[in-house]
Amino acid sequence: MKRLLAFSALLANLMLMACATWAQGGGELRFCLRTEPKTLNPLQAADDASETIRYLTGGVLVRVNRLTQELEPELATSWKVTDKGQTITFQLREGLRFSDGTPFSADDVAYTMRQLMDPALHSPTGDAFRAGEGKVETRTLNKNRVAITFPAPVAGLDRLFDQVAIMSATSSQKELAVLGPYYVAENKAGAYLILKRNANYWKKDPDGRPLPRIESIRLEIQTNRDIEVLRLVRGEITFINSIDAEYFDKIVSQDPAMAHDAGPSLDSEQIWFNQVANSPLPAYKKVWFTSTKFRRAISESINRQDMVRIAFRGHAVPAIGLVSPANKFWFNAGLQLHPFDTKSALQRLAEDGFKLQDGVLRDRDGYAVEFSVITNSGNKYRERMAAMIQQDLSQVGIKLNIVTLDFPSLIERITRTFDYEACLLGFVNDELDPDAQMTVWLSSAENHQWNPNQKTPATAWEAEIDKLMHDQASTTDPKKRKAAFDKVQQIAWEQEPFIYLVNKNALSAVSPSVHNVHPAVLRPQVYWNIDQLWLSGEVARNH
């Protein structure tokens, strides 16, 4: 009897310990949004804050694993792309429910697609699917099977569904009924949002226990990054998703365990010259800026390694081309970094008729080479980069004037008046697929910054890029797409319409109280596996 009692007590203890361990789930994860979300409708999310809410609350058919960059099943158990990329068929999971209890079926996918492609909604997510004129047809083949047909092939079609949060066709809560791990429980405008754990979330851990483990998420609106860092250090928030190099170093000096450097991100910083034919620049400067040799010489005169070491404190890598090495599949590994070589730069300039006389570079007509670069005011990194480029270019006799402008004035100059000579800015890239770069690399595109909205390509190499971008977009064969886009990268590397400078590292800071964190270079860097995170007991209890 005593043995039985002792065994029972041991068993009870073990069960209590197991329960206690699991109870360390729960708690509240806290982090900051830098602006208030503009919308809670996942189909209209365009700003960072709205996308954060979409990621945390939205259930998607497929999800890009932020670490492996591979596509993984979510609400869909399998999918198939057919008709050369025009049709995609999803097999859906059975028995799922939205956060409000309404059942999930193929009708919800059809409803979401109708909403997404409704021109009246102006959905930024929907724009990625618009490949041609005509309607998108969605057929519910049965309760758990749905086929979506587009009027024209869509490149990288399956991956685009990573951004499409499925909405309920029948719920009275509309977009607030979700299939993701959390739902919006409270929204205090301008102050905070509270997300609560979705009890109907479909995922379970390997032991069959329901996910997510963290009970709630408090998102505080905090525009000041200094305060955000101070709050992290004080333990008032649990992580900062993306952090600048200086703050990162500060955190490293205080608590190295909090700092995470995931390596180069998809984002790039670059400089480009105004090549717009009807811009109000003097003709001789237009000749400089449209010369490939001139652009290549400028590129070779810039010491990118110093830029990485000094301006970014080592938390960046010199940029090779338009695709960051962080983009595992699409990066053209055959390209090499443009060397820092002033001799080679001067040789290229000499071939173009430039001469270095008494420390001043002059073109063939005797004009001293002097130009200005504009960048947005208040960005320390860009101002530092510009100052470093200024000193680098002075070594080849070029005088660079740096002008910092408020952002609206800068945008006005680069998109409407074209009254600028060179511009230093960065691109924030979220998408891995080259299709997302169509708006930059097609000569007719608005964001073809050096010479936008061309009726016909101004140069042969731009015409070639146009062709290659269309080629890669019109096939679903990954090999053919990669070959075409590799060639685009090669041409961009040779012509340097954008002189790529650096790819910043993806830096984040996470409290050691958050477990199972594996920061990635893709957004959202820290909480991409939000349903797998958990808080250590003390934090979970205190919060």
Partner: protein, 267 residues
Amino acid sequence: MKWARTAAIVFLVISGGACVLANFVAPAPYARQFREDPDAPPSRQHLLGTDDLGRDRLSRLLYGTRVSLLLAPAAALFSTLLAALVGGVAGFAGGWLQRSVMAATDLFLSLPWLFLLISVRAMLPLNVSPIVSIMITFALLGCLGWAGAARVVCADVSTLSQSDFMLLARASGSGGLRLLWLQLVPNLKPILYAQFWISVPVFILTEANLGILGLGVTEPLPSWGGLLRELQGFSTLTGQWWQFVPLTLFVMVVSSFHLVLTKEELL
């Protein structure tokens, strides 16, 4: 407090002297980047260390102080003269002219200066050297900074016009310019001095604010605004004393101007 005023004057003279002689005193060119030594602590080579781009802090402080100390008084002188002209004429003429000018002055005062400066700065040609750029900035400050002082001058001129000595001068046959030049201007001097000394730190601060917004002096020319930007943000609060030298100097110079002003008020 006499000793304090004397100390302030001595300090301003020494600071001014060091800045004027920056070309000879500065250990390195202000724009030169010692890229192997960014953010270096004070050493024999760099007495105040180097900034984030490896530029010698002492050299940048000397040149930056020169920019701010030479151009701020010039802008202050210009705005004070403008204020004397506008306020003097309005106060002396009185009546509808005074009311109209003061209404225009009030309107001018209500303009959002900072946005105006940002807009004007954005409209300037891009290829101007940093020195021309900073001169334009201070010229703008001078052009925009007269309104407050003009109100004070107008009120003072109005009071002086009604005073007994002015009545006596008029009765003695003085009028027009003679009355203005011989009677009014000498009595306005203390208030004009005061307005001048008040304007100097105000303009220095405005340039510093523009610098913090990244819209002040362009690289690589240093100014107090640019130097103070380093202290913006949590990341800079490292407790390294040499980072706070520009701020200390700035506070001391502005305080010195105010101590000198006290002397002028007593005139």
